[in-house]
Symmetry: C2
Subunit: 294 residues, 2 copies
């Protein structure tokens, strides 16, 4: 089997590194429990330099800037930024074999699954929930996906055989596989990933509205771990923030609306000096947060 990876950055590069190493380990092992894997890993980057680094670092066996390399692939992981996923599928089509499976690693699923499945029915939506703030082939690392959620979002039309093949590869990364509908995925990540960016960014932006320059200056001097943590994701990569708002707009607006109602409710407790209800709410928040296993 040949595994293709289009886009050799943090995600595609880390995927290749683990698959490459896994094959080496099973080939080197004398244990009869290990069967040598026969897959080859083929990579595509827009930069010739990245292709060379990817082969040198043991990310892929062969890399090219030319999509025609993908005519050898049985399954292709599309690891480009979200905006490039559907256009990449469209560009790949002339080079694909009829049985080739396409899958992606985009952090939003409904629009990607809709557009990519329409272009190539043998498409399996995926989202490995791993990463860090770095980008590019140099950021690629071993074990990036270990114990992290890897969400697969099949639709009623997705081939079970294709899902199985994607899962068998994801298993090698030691990620935790979850299945859900694309819409459910998008609503869940709106809550835990995209809404936090908006409410955290609004904190930074609101402080800029302080009209007393002494108070603004003191706030800068006094800011400590509470402000640091609450503002962290709001001060993150602007490009990623824009992408999530564009591609997960509907689910994000849905959770902002619910958030705003909740904020208004809690504000009313403070306005009305309803300390008993505020106390209950703060205690509820405290115990609800303990249910998360970070």
């Amino acid at each position: 089997m040949n595994i293709g990876i289009v886009g050799l950055g943090l995600m595609g590069g880390s995927l290749g590194l683990d698959l490459y190493t896994h094959r080496q380990q099973t080939q080197d092992s004398n244990s009869p429990a290990f069967q040598p894997q026969s897959y080859r890993i083929l990579g595509i980057s827009r930069q010739q330099q990245t292709c060379e680094v990817a082969v040198e670092r043991g990310v892929v066996d062969e890399a090219s800037v030319d999509l025609s390399l993908m005519n050898q692939a049985d399954i292709i992981f599309i690891c480009t930024p979200i905006a490039a996923i559907a256009p990449t599928v469209a560009e790949l089509i002339p080079y694909l074999q009829p049985h080739t499976i396409l899958t992606d690693v985009g952090s939003v699923k409904k629009p990607i699954v809709d557009s990519c499945s329409a272009l190539w029915p043998n498409f399996v939506g995926g989202h490995p929930m791993a990463g860090n703030t770095q980008t590019g082939i140099d950021a690629a690392q071993h074990h990036l996906f270990v114990d992290k959620p890897y969400v697969i979002t099949p639709t009623a039309n997705t081939s079970l055989e294709s899902i199985k093949i994607v899962e068998s590869i994801v298993d090698l990364l030691q990620a935790k596989i979850y299945h859900c509908q694309p819409e459910e995925h998008d609503r869940a990540v709106a809550w835990i990933s995209h809404l936090p960016v908006i409410i955290s960014g609004s904190l930074i932006a609101a402080l800029k509205q302080e009209d007393n320059p002494d108070v603004a200056l003191l706030a800068h001097y006094f800011a400590s771990s509470g402000f640091r943590d609450t503002s962290r994701v709001g001060g993150g990569n602007p490009e990623l923030g824009l992408m999530m708002a564009k591609y997960n707009r509907e689910a994000l607006l849905r959770s902002i609306k619910s958030y705003r109602q909740t904020l208004d409710k809690i504000t009313t407790y403070i306005e009305q000096e309803d300390w008993e209800t505020l106390d209950k709410q703060l205690n509820q928040n405290h115990s609800d947060r303990l249910k998360f296993h970070f």
Copy 2:
């Protein structure tokens, strides 16, 4: 000089530890640059057990559950929870010498300075911005205040001599001294400490409103560092959250109002798909956050 500490928890205990150790070090030193300090440290706790631990651990020279011990004190640090500060001042008055300076470590200043100055004019409001989630004498630690802001909030009526004496003791803690008006302090901490608790707590509470149980469950499975950090202070000590809302209500409501307007503005960019303005805002947030030195 005798230094009194009323309340031997994390704050009072850590204050005593550093003052006690500082005196030992200067007494033990043979360097002529060091002058032995002659202060004694006297502590008050409501628990006899805490008094004993405080003497054993080298927090104070003498401790008592009886406020009359404070009739020997020249300056008293009131290190009780916020709600107990003004009542403690009132209880102390029968035992105070006319020259005794009172100062506090409460995290809100305007209501405390107003009420305590009315009870005892020789009052200097203070707020060491240090601490952690632990409480009690066992949580007391050395160097808690080193390089942390220690805000002093004199009014037009505060004696300059008393401010100087408070500062000379704070200097021994190696804290960074700031001066500002009580109202300015409260507005600044509303921005960087109290507003974050409300917006972070609202995130936890909003997620509970999700009406699709599958989405709620997925959100729990998928929650990672972004949600963890943004929800941290909102899931913190409910008692502290309630106190800051009660005692800093006006400044908190002022910053919530500004926050809500900002959130609405950013929501409108997303609703109207005004990606150019959203992009500018996210970039602004990114560069504004870099100006904080955490």
